[in-house]
Amino acid sequence: MSKQYTGIGFRKDFAEELLSSTVLKPSFIEMAPENWIGMGGYWKKVLDKAAEKFPITCHGLSLSIGSPDEVDVEFVKQVKKFLKQYNVKVYSEHLSYSKCDNAHLYDLLPIPFRQDAVKHIVQRIKQVQDILEMPIALENVSYYTPVAAEMNEVEFISAIVKESGCNMLLDVNNVYVNSFNHQYDPKEFIKKLPLDHVAYIHMAGHEQISDTVIIDTHGQAVIDQVFELFDYTVGLVKPVPVLLERDFNIPELEELQGEITRMDNIIAKKWQIADAIA
């Protein structure tokens, strides 16, 4: 059996099962700090148990790095405290916005692919990193329509990553989803990304709802084409932590472990590493 490198998104839906499981054995767990900051009682106990058992990475939801609003400094400070408390070494977020005009939307909206947006976001990334005193990794998000774009997606992502010097969370499923929705070659897209900045990889399932649209649901098993794209990607980047996201329709844990094992086998063929998250 190959060594395990892959982590899993820590969801309340299967938190207890995971903590006592002998079947599902991720090498680390990932959680959204927003879902745990300031939480006490039963769930705090679960969180503390999880932190004793697994290394933790954090993947935020509400930073809204692409927002026109000011950075919510108090929120970033809360995140910083949480990261320190749970010894979190990897903090990632989405290259999108989820707050505008002081109203939170709790989902990921596409930023206009424009030069002024690049400048705006680069400045915000630097501000956030200065507060956190650590680098953040930004994820290429899935999107269903561009908005007021003046450059293409890969140019937009690359400019932000290169100009800010931040890390990149490469979500392989999102590349697949976007390549389907917007009709491009996913491998060509990945090749053009600033791959030397990739510090984290996400894998997930999705749902095709029509002939032309896939929704990034995290509610289904990872499909073969995404595994194939993952195989391709792993061959291009240095060893980094890899995460399986499964947020809905949680299957038997054996099934999740099967996906993790499949990823680990791909990784083992390409990366000579002791531990991607160490």
Binding site: G41, L109, A148
Partner: protein, 249 residues
């Protein structure tokens, strides 16, 4: 800000559309796909509210609930970055807009409040327990209580009565909501006005014997022995329920 006005406006229009569903004139969009954003955003907000307010959700007719959630999300700017805390803002919105009065369900504020508090008490940050001992005298030693609780006053008995039977049941009701330390479970306990008073004073650090003397006069009971007997049973009952811990060290 480095953003051009037009870029800001495009972002603001998309965000506004996700909140109110009114289709904007955005540049360069796939119009046929725009609705996914409204749907996905609205579903997250709607799911959070249904999870927090299951009784209100199942009591109100579907179209009334949906309109309420629609109006809330369109009119109110959600301030919290934590979606699980957002239902508290929904409660505030309903009170401010007098939704209870508009719908003629005058108990609605109380119902929403109790439903929110159940979630709030379950998830609220841990409060350090006081140092205590189990040996002492209820009347002359300071009593230690579980610090993780809310003591509230209601106009309708929404915690004991189904919404369909609440009309005409207005009165004054006191409710203790607390979290058990080990299990984290939330417990509810009906209290009389007298016992609410006693509990509040104990929580303020007063001795039970002093509280009872005050209560004897305040509530015109004029039977301190009977009051002591009942109070001791009350405190013992609270101890069995894991609310009273013992005696402060």
């Amino acid at each position: 800000m480095q953003l051009l006005k037009d870029t800001y406006q495009q972002q603001a229009m998309l965000a506004e559309y996700c909140r109110d569903g009114i289709v904007p004139e955005l540049k360069g969009v796939k119009a046929e796909n725009l609705h996914h954003y409204r749907r996905l955003v609205f579903n997250i907000a709607s799911d959070a509210l249904e999870t927090c307010y299951p009784i209100t959700h199942s009591f109100l007719p579907k179209e009334v609930w949906e309109k309420l959630v629609y109006d809330y999300f369109a009119e109110h700017k959600c301030k919290t970055s934590q979606v699980w805390r957002m239902p508290m803002e929904f409660y505030d919105y309903c009170v401010k807009k007098d939704i209870a009065g508009q719908l003629g369900h005058y108990f609605l504020n109380d119902l929403l409040y109790v439903e929110w508090l159940e979630l709030d008490v379950h998830t609220m940050e841990d409060i350090p327990y006081p140092s205590f001992t189990t040996k002492g005298d209820w009347f002359t030693n300071k009593i230690a209580i579980n610090p993780e609780y809310k003591l509230i006053k209601l106009t309708y008995p929404v915690h004991t009565t189904a919404p369909t039977s609440l009309a005409g049941k207005e009165g004054t009701f006191f409710l203790l909501i607390y979290r058990e330390k080990e299990s984290g479970n939330v417990q509810f306990m009906d209290l009389s006005m007298l016992y609410t008073y006693i509990l509040e004073q104990i929580a303020n650090g007063e001795l039970l014997k002093d509280v009872l003397e005050e209560a004897n006069n305040l509530f015109q009971i004029n039977d301190i022995l009977l009051l002591k007997e009942h109070a001791e049973k009350f405190i013992t009952d609270l101890q069995q329920r894991q609310f009273v811990l013992g005696f402060l060290k």
